[in-house]
């Protein structure tokens, strides 16, 4: 008898139980697009703290800043992708000086994840030279000179982008099986495979948990972004990327604006937190459905 393959289906609590203070966590998606928000919400309401976050930032890093979880952030940008664009909680963390920013060019994030994925200490890149990126990194970012001179006999000196090694990666894919095979169905894979390849522990949340057979029949082969070697745990989280968009649903623009509005006063934020953040994922989804219904009634 062949032993059964590992079933990786887990709960959000299983994932949070494996995280420790001070970890470096990479968060997949892009801006306000296919963010693993269910995992982010679970992390925000946990006791885990003092985190270093690596991200193409959106409301994921905003919610973690609101919860006071972030000590240091590595990012190419932070954007909500629609008006008012700037995340209020990331802005508050920055203007109060409560996080150390390792801001960089967007291409440097991809480069650093690729270095980690290939177990290399660095990869050379042109982006960053001449800009204030090295100033942000306060001596942490070095250059490297090519051992091969150019056609004119001069050697190029480039940014030596260090590997962005992650203790853990969070990603949201539209479809997955219980073993960690997973696919995206939208127009863009973002960098989710790179986040997983750069991390020691890889946590996947998914809108649809299906059999392997259904998974591979549902999408063209090229959409199978993650294979089993890249995932430790799979969490079934329908609508888990809310209020960012995923393959099967659009961004909840009204709720995102409500999130931004709610950040304006401590009273509004306390009400938002009580209703949407100090609750488990099932209650969050119920509260969102109720909120959406009330919005519809007002129309």
């Amino acid at each position: 008898m062949t032993p059964a393959p590992t079933d990786k289906t887990s709960t959000l609590d299983d994932v949070i139980g494996e995280l420790r203070d001070g970890m470096t966590i990479g968060i997949g998606g892009w801006g306000s697009r296919r963010k693993p928000m269910a995992l982010v919400r679970a992390l925000a309401r946990s006791d885990v703290t003092d985190l270093t976050v690596v991200t193409y930032g959106g409301p994921d890093i905003g919610l973690l800043c609101a919860a006071g979880k972030v000590r240091r952030a590595y990012y190419g940008f932070v954007s909500l992708d629609s008006a008012p664009f700037y995340d209020p909680w990331f802005a508050a963390a920055r203007t109060s000086g409560s996080i150390e920013a390792r801001e960089m060019d967007e291409g440097m994030v991809k480069c650093g994840l690729e270095a980690a994925a290939a177990r290399l200490p660095f990869l050379p890149i042109r982006a960053g030279l001449g800009s204030d990126v090295p100033t942000f990194w306060e001596g942490e970012l070095k250059t490297v000179t090519s051992p091969y001179p150019d056609f004119d006999g001069r050697a190029e000196t480039l940014i030596a982008m260090p590997a962005l090694r992650l203790d853990a990666a969070f990603v949201h894919l539209d479809l997955a099986d219980s073993r960690g095979n997973a696919a995206y169905t939208g127009v863009d894979p973002y960098m989710d495979d790179l986040y997983c390849a750069a991390a020691d522990r890889r946590y996947l949340e998914t809108d649809q948990l299906v059999s392997t057979e259904v998974l591979v029949k549902s999408v063209p082969t090229q959409r199978l972004l993650l294979n089993r070697m890249n995932v430790e745990r799979v969490v079934h989280t329908p609508n888990g990327a809310h209020f960012t968009f995923a393959g099967e649903y659009g961004r909840d623009e009204r709720f995102q604006r409500f999130y931004v509005e709610s950040a304006k006063t401590p009273e509004q934020w306390a009400a938002f937190s009580k209703r949407f953040l100090e609750v488990d994922e099932a209650d969050y989804q119920r509260a969102v459905t109720e909120w959406q219904g009330a919005q519809e009634d007002q129309q």
Binding site: F77, A91, R94, E103, V187, D188
Partner: protein, 251 residues
Amino acid sequence: MVEPVETTRAEICVVACAEIFSGAGEIMASPMAPIPLLGARLARLTTEPDLLITDGEALILADTPAIGKSGPIEGWMPFRKVFDVVASGRRHVVMGANQIDRFGNQNLSAFGPLQQPTRQMFGSRGAPGNTLNHPTSYWVARHSPRVFTDEVDIVCGVGYDRVDPDNPAFRYHHIHRVVTNLGVFDFDGPDHTMRARSLHPGVSAEEVADNTGFEIAELSTAPSTRMPTAEELTLIRDLLDPKGVRNREVK
């Protein structure tokens, strides 16, 4: 008889943005705001048919649709592949700017000290990589001394005084144009400082000087920006921007 419609400042800006791409050839045009987007599409419909344009998300458009509209596609350009295009150099981006200095340093990250800014914007985004790898231009809808400042708070887009001439890694740096609601500029002034190429009809050198935090080369002798042709106006008004999005960005 039909009253002739007066050409708007926005339409002059669209044509000036189209001219950013003159001679660009078969490269990706990446405009980051409505007026330069209309400019890129106008260039593609007139003199630059081989430009690649995208829907701003992940699809390369086969046709040249109106702003906000999609259409038939010809290819795939997810974000990860955009970085490959950036590194290849086959791209011309038109970015916005919260600040630009006389050497073309640009800021869209934040105001104030790096680790404790007074106001947070986007972060550096792709500006460092864009400016080191391929032609970069800027679009400023409201030319003011707050934007055109003596010194930017955070250098995201790299200016000419930050280029190391001894390091060939800087060899692809080129800031092509700055188009604003007042005129068209480049960095061919003394020591690669900002220079006026043309001022839009009705704009005086004094108005530009009053709205710029540093001296602009050749400002007093700058000619007038050319008016759109009848064909260009028809393309802008009837095909590319029938709803007049341009006139909301520039009055």
